[in-house]
Symmetry: D2
Subunit: 141 residues, 4 copies
């Protein structure tokens, strides 16, 4: 979902890059790193957040488990089941049955909706016309 | 979305691979290639579908625009706006306003829901317990 | 090897993008697409070359098999064994023995050396100091 | 280079996976993680090595800077200039001139040769015929 968000931010004319892409520049102030760790923390996500902060960037972490001590500067609480709690009560399903949205699926769906809302609002704020956004979509596909 | 589906199919214990991954084996009969082309056809998707078919594999194409002459063996019609028709009537938005789900977003959201439903049903058919599925999720993250 | 080249071109301050990255913009004149197809042609490479040309871009194809009718505008002949001819005479190995550099390895090594030479020369032509190049390397690793 | 190695190991019939691929299974004993950190350590490489070790896997780290306290279980010293020391003496170049192989290029080239040698020797040990290796190369390209 973060890759899809990155594409839409680039469509808006922003300088957006995915971590680990070949052309990603070094991060520095006042850049913003957007990270996601549904269950709270992952070793690799922690490492990237720490690198970004130590280079002066701001870090936003999306998670269902705030208060877990992540090195992010801002933590956005996206409520939803993930692998951290999908075994507590049978997940999103009927009592005792197979969960309709197992593991982190509910969280992924929540991110999809959240990112569409953010991109919609950003398009208004930046006053980017739908035509301008569309013209930035790649034709190499 | 196809990458997420591929992960979930692997979680179910199936031999699933993403095109262009380093470890993807050659395709042959009776393999199934699942492709997606919201607006109907892309040159690269056509090329991959053609290679798969000429090597004896079956090809399922997901699209909002059936009847476009794709080389797929089966075409699944997923109704939804894409870049093929997002400029016809202002997209999914109020009259004349900015579309809430521009370009291919609606189609991507539809695929998300569809794939979750398919994976849920497959889990039942294959009788894979949630615990078995969960145990196949990588810890390298 | 093309991904490594793309990184080095970005280090030189050029606007370089990998095909299929999330942030890759549409291609147009006077952009240059650099493609590689050791054995001559691949369906996906042909498709991307064709899209690039039909959008006004120039296309450079690196291959060991020139004269194969690729849609590229310029074809650079990089001599070297690939999967197109590694079964002719035992490959790069002693008579009858296992090839030291099987399949496309020799071609990949040749591209490595070629790209380093190109990047070295480009650095001189663009007068980019080693310090400037180095400062563009990502710290998110 | 690690991705190319991963492909060749899969060609040899081994169960090989790239970290961050969609279909990568969880790591456990007696799996082997092969990591590379030319300059010695990277936060993300450290994190992955640590996860692998705490799940019972063995970890091999390739680096030009042994003795840097990496969490790997075995460290292979690949001599060669990287970004850790490319500014000490002008790099691989004539006195005072631009380095022919700047930053980590020399290390990357050394890995290329090393991996080809390892794959050649592995092919002999596993007694995998060139034809069998070749038949595992993907046709989806």
């Amino acid at each position: 979902m973060l890759k899809a968000l990155c594409m839409r931010l680039a469509h808006l004319g922003l300088s957006a890059h995915s971590v680990f892409d070949m052309t990603t520049p070094p991060i520095a102030s006042p850049d913003l790193l957007i990270a996601s760790a549904g269950p709270g923390r992952f070793p690799t996500v922690d490492a990237i957040c720490w690198v970004a902060r130590s280079n002066g960037a701001r870090v936003l972490l999306l998670t269902t488990q705030p208060g877990n001590g992540s090195p992010a500067s801002v933590i956005a609480h996206v409520p939803g089941q993930t692998m951290a709690d999908d075994q507590d009560g049978g997940g999103v399903g009927l009592g005792g049955s197979r969960a309709l949205l197992p593991m982190g699926s509910l969280y992924e769906g929540a991110l999809f909706v959240l990112f569409e809302m953010v991109v919609f609002r950003l398009g208004e704020v930046l006053d980017e016309s739908p035509e301008a956004v569309r013209s930035r979509h790649t034709n190499l596909e």
